[in-house]
Symmetry: C2
């Protein structure tokens, strides 16, 4: 078995050789921080619903971007932002009724115990804050994360994001465990994962650091998407909480109805988070994120540290966020994610049964992972073939990317408004790319 | 002399006693993270130009919020955001022409050596990244900041923001120096400040940590605003650079033409930053920020760490940012800041000469600080009187706040479109509040 590949994004190229035109222009502006999709990157000009339009007129079905979750350029979000930004955009040091209206609508979706919400600009800021709250409350300094986890881009959060560390191991206060899949834990994922978490906590204790929190994305997106069996997370979470650590549910990716059966991904596992962080789809692309916590936990943190977020909780973001919640409800997007996602998964499983290079299909709702492998060798992930499939899908007009320890898991995250016809279009393109 | 008061915001109350209505609602939602202006907070409903309108119809002249810098609800920014969000909002893994158009317009304002820009969501994220780049490039771990500095809210940046640390001193890798004013350095601010910086670097060396960077806001906003004499920063910056450290110019507050004589605050001092960070006014309230750096510095950082910012550099933010740059240019806002600011400063100095409780007026352009003191005791800052003045100004329809080591410096940051009549309105209200 090969070494874990630690790389933030599988379909990412630095395009250093990419000569002229818009790619050269981008490299000149962003430098080494430029990471474009595809060896021949796509220039986009517009997007609506599940579709993006390139400068050459090509229309692409977006099966990858989990930010515009209610659909690209959704008219209700557009209208809400346009109206509010023309009226008032200020910070939370003044009262603005719409801000509290949004916070109350959001809290109605959250466990009642987590009744304080700090709004931030990004999921990174939310996780950075959550990690500090967990340290304050637990009195311990360490974090347990999965081995290919990604939780954000600040200094503190990057340390707990092994997939962002290109050449180094996480620092001493971060201990990793294998992702909750059969490869590491066989048939007993719940038991095996809990044992691994307990061992990680023991290691943090042995290092004299202790465990502040288990920080986990309940769909384990960057690890390669691990959703089943429902409930497998519970023994691990309970072990952490019993030891005085917190469970930070990083819902930046699975949250806001994507996993179909519930509004939050952690609900699939019947666990009670101490902190919930959220981001990406929260404003359908308007920069906003947040952390929900117990009042006493937030108060403990604020005793030592003054926290203020200039843009966090501005009324324009709250208008966008409220429109997103309303659209999810009005358009029945959670049900749609559940229904279209289930059918998509079973269609992909049918293809897998016929395709010797498709090893497994996993996931929940409209958050699916498909493992690609060497021919007739399900245990041998094939990252090179995965890139081929991604390119073939692009040629077929479908945008998709990959994740996971081996870079060989296609990550499917279309907008939640995906129609059955659009799902079928994906399935057809996928069959064309993987069937012999 | 009293101990330094370390508090993030002087006109900030937690309003824990604030019974009913919208304040109670806010506290129920934000909990300990709620920090509202005024003991009786104001509920706002709209804002245009330099004016905000409360729910009771009261109109307030906004002399404090440095985010809506080209004016609240500026129609060009509103139109740019409304148009772009209806068309395309995605991340920088696809090419979008407007993103590069913006980056190029921004870079035209920056030193040519700093030709790579990473767009983020907040100034905090920009400074968090800048500090890590500085560590990577310098090979050292320490930072020198002023003693009441504020640079942002992430874990790493909070450690370098003494004003956010309520009960603790900064960690070992952060050494503070007194703000560059006469109180600490007498008549030789440039020489004294440079000596203090050298001593701080020696202390970091003695601790075995070394100096990664001097992280300084060139207007020293949270320290109480220190702008003169122009050039005083230069010996300090050169000392840091000579020793292999970087100078991170935190332009989140002074940037984008506010200081009048130049587009960036550091230009007032004739120094060459290694990194420039920016934020607040960049999108006139649309959440966006950035870090400009040398390509080789950014490349060194990216070799070890994968950095991606989901919302950073989205085309809607870039549309807002481009509109801000255009409005500053078209409306001559830098000249306006210079001209109206200079007149405002001299009017305030005239009042100070007659008002025994006004000890000093400092600043540049439309970023001014006014020290308030005990009666006829210019050396005795008076925070309680400052709160009285803030409340009296509010009663006169003017929004203002305070900063500084003693919480006794009024901080004036009106929109850059401020008219002379609006400036006069402030001066009149201020005279009423401070003249005997």
């Amino acid at each position: 078995m090969s070494e874990p590949r630690r790389i933030l994004e599988m379909n990412a190229f630095d395009n250093r050789q990419g000569g002229a035109g818009p790619v050269a222009r981008r490299l000149d502006n962003l430098g080494a921080a430029s990471v474009l999709f595809y060896r021949a990157p796509i220039e986009m000009v517009s997007a609506q619903g599940a579709w993006m339009v390139a400068v050459d007129g090509t229309r692409y079905l977006d099966f990858y971007n989990n930010v515009p979750s209610v659909g690209h350029s959704h008219p209700e979000v557009v209208a809400a932002v346009s109206r509010q930004i023309a009226t008032l955009n200020t910070h939370t040091r003044y009262l603005v009724a719409g801000v509290d209206t949004y916070l109350e609508a959001l809290k109605a979706r959250l466990p009642s115990a987590l009744s304080n919400v700090v709004l931030t600009c990004s999921g990174s800021e939310a996780n950075d804050l959550a990690m500090r709250v967990a340290r304050q409350v637990s009195g311990a300094g360490g974090f347990v994360v999965t081995e290919t986890a990604y939780h954000g881009n600040t200094a503190l959060v990057t340390e707990a994001s092994p997939s962002a560390l290109k050449r180094t191991a996480p620092p001493a206060h971060v201990v990793t465990v294998p992702a909750p899949g059969r490869e590491a834990y066989g048939d007993d994922i719940a038991g095996g994962f809990a044992r691994a978490i307990r061992a990680a906590m023991a290691e943090l204790d042995a290092r004299g650091i202790g465990t502040a929190a288990l920080l986990a994305d309940s769909i384990f997106s960057s690890d390669g998407i691990f959703a089943d069996p429902p409930g497998f997370l519970r023994p691990a979470v309970e072990a952490v909480q019993a030891a005085g650590g917190l469970y930070i549910a990083d819902e930046v990716q699975p949250g806001f109805a994507r996993t179909g059966s519930a509004f939050w991904g952690y609900a699939r596992h019947g666990v009670a988070p101490d902190i919930v962080t959220m981001g990406k789809p929260m404003g359908n692309g308007f920069p906003m994120a947040g952390m929900a916590a117990r009042p006493e936990h937030l108060a403990a943190f604020c005793e030592d540290t003054g926290y203020f977020n200039t843009f966090g909780g501005n009324p324009v973001a709250c208008a966008a966020g409220l429109a997103v919640l309303r659209v999810i409800e009005e358009e029945g997007l959670q049900d749609n994610a559940q229904r279209v996602g289930a059918r998509l998964k079973s269609d992909l499983e049918e293809i897998a049964a016929r395709a010797p290079r498709v090893a497994a299909v996993r996931g929940a709702g409209l958050f699916l992972g498909v493992d690609l492998c060497a021919p007739d060798a399900p245990g041998t992930p094939d990252a090179a073939f995965t890139v081929q499939v991604i390119d073939a899908m692009r040629d077929a007009g479908v945008l998709i990317g990959a994740a996971g320890r081996y870079g060989a898991t296609l990550k499917l995250r279309p907008p939640l408004c995906l129609s059955q016809a659009e799902a079928d279009r994906f399935t057809e393109a996928f069959a064309g790319a993987v069937l012999p």
